[in-house]
Symmetry: C2
Subunit: 210 residues, 2 copies
């Protein structure tokens, strides 16, 4: 792989490219132009070509892309050619909904344990996943070598819990709390706050409501 530093914004688009290519593969498409792909994604062909050029580019001029080849390359770039173990910290409604989410397993994501402090939920199961006490968090994560955690905790507990996770080797956090986490640069965080997404949408609704 070309080891140029790729802007994070480019990386953020690759999973959607992959998702759309998988849909196209299911529909029986074998070869597509960047134009077709861009229309499906609501972006421009130039954007897609530019993004892919960071990784060497995969299309022949005027020939379009091989759907399967592009899928394979994107999977390799995103390190999706393996199973990733993930822990869910916080077994409330959202943590449980995520743990039950059908879309993980088929895309190589294995939720291995949930953690909570509430005695009413510790020891129960969500689907096949056991909810362990948060006291066991460090030892469980180290034992399994888990690098990825999903945080679905109350806001007050977010920073201290994230610090604990990072201390035992977690390198990537999907943060569903409304807190902007302060962590070492080597740790990658994606924040998913439905309010932030809605506020982004509301920008475009100006004048639509009185």
């Amino acid at each position: 792989m070309i080891e140029e530093v790729v802007p994070d914004i480019v990386i953020s688009r690759l999973p959607r490219y992959l998702q759309t290519l998988n849909e196209m593969a299911k529909e029986g498409l074998h070869t597509i132009s960047s134009q077709t792909l861009s229309e499906r994604l609501g972006t421009t062909a130039a954007q897609i070509r530019k993004d892919l050029s960071f990784f060497g580019g995969f299309g022949k001029q005027g020939m379009g892309y091989s759907v399967y080849n592009l899928i394979e390359q994107l999977q390799r770039i995103l390190n999706l050619d393996r199973i990733w173990q993930v822990v869910v910290v916080g077994a409330g409604d959202l943590g449980r909904a995520l743990t039950r989410y059908q879309g993980f397993a088929i895309r190589g994501i294995e939720i291995v344990t949930m953690f909570d402090v509430d005695p009413k939920v510790v020891g129960t199961r969500v689907g096949s996943i056991m909810v362990c006490h948060a006291d066991e968090m460090e030892s469980e994560i180290q034992k399994r070598g888990v690098k990825i955690a999903i945080l679905t905790l109350p806001a007050e507990a977010a920073q201290v819990t994230a610090d604990r996770l990072v201390n035992v080797g977690v390198k990537a956090i999907l943060n569903y709390t409304p807190v902007t986490l302060r962590l070492p640069e080597s740790v990658h965080v994606q924040q998913v706050d439905p309010v932030l997404h809605l506020q982004h949408l509301m920008y475009y609704l100006g004048g639509n409501q009185a």
Copy 2:
């Protein structure tokens, strides 16, 4: 407001600026430099200044930003100076978790109704919100003039439901299904698929797992 077309990627960053500024206001900060704000956000001061310059810029050279003024301006830009009504379509685990989410009301988002087709959940309540049958979706949305919907449905139902919502005036969809929706350009969609966020993170974990 300056009516230049602002790139969507700029808009996508404003809610996080606002969130961080609100945290700073809570901490008692009144004036901040773009440097301080950028450190908190894990971005660069130049990026923040460039983003804000689309809206006229709000700092005096060398003086930093007034936290409260910047909050007020961002709220205005994002149309957050009002209450927005939102419907949730799909009353499964995730729909219920979202409807119960404490972070909406304090930030001006009011979930008004949920819809589902499952006779076991139609007519029940999630917190104070009634789950209505999806047959009533069009009439309810038109009656209330709702412009924003959150989709937490099975993938198979996503496109047809989104089409129905758009037909009765919905202009913004927060899409939690794994489907890339095809809708008129005038409709704004934010897709929230935990897998896409995790895949983005996995890019940075190459070599961390054997």
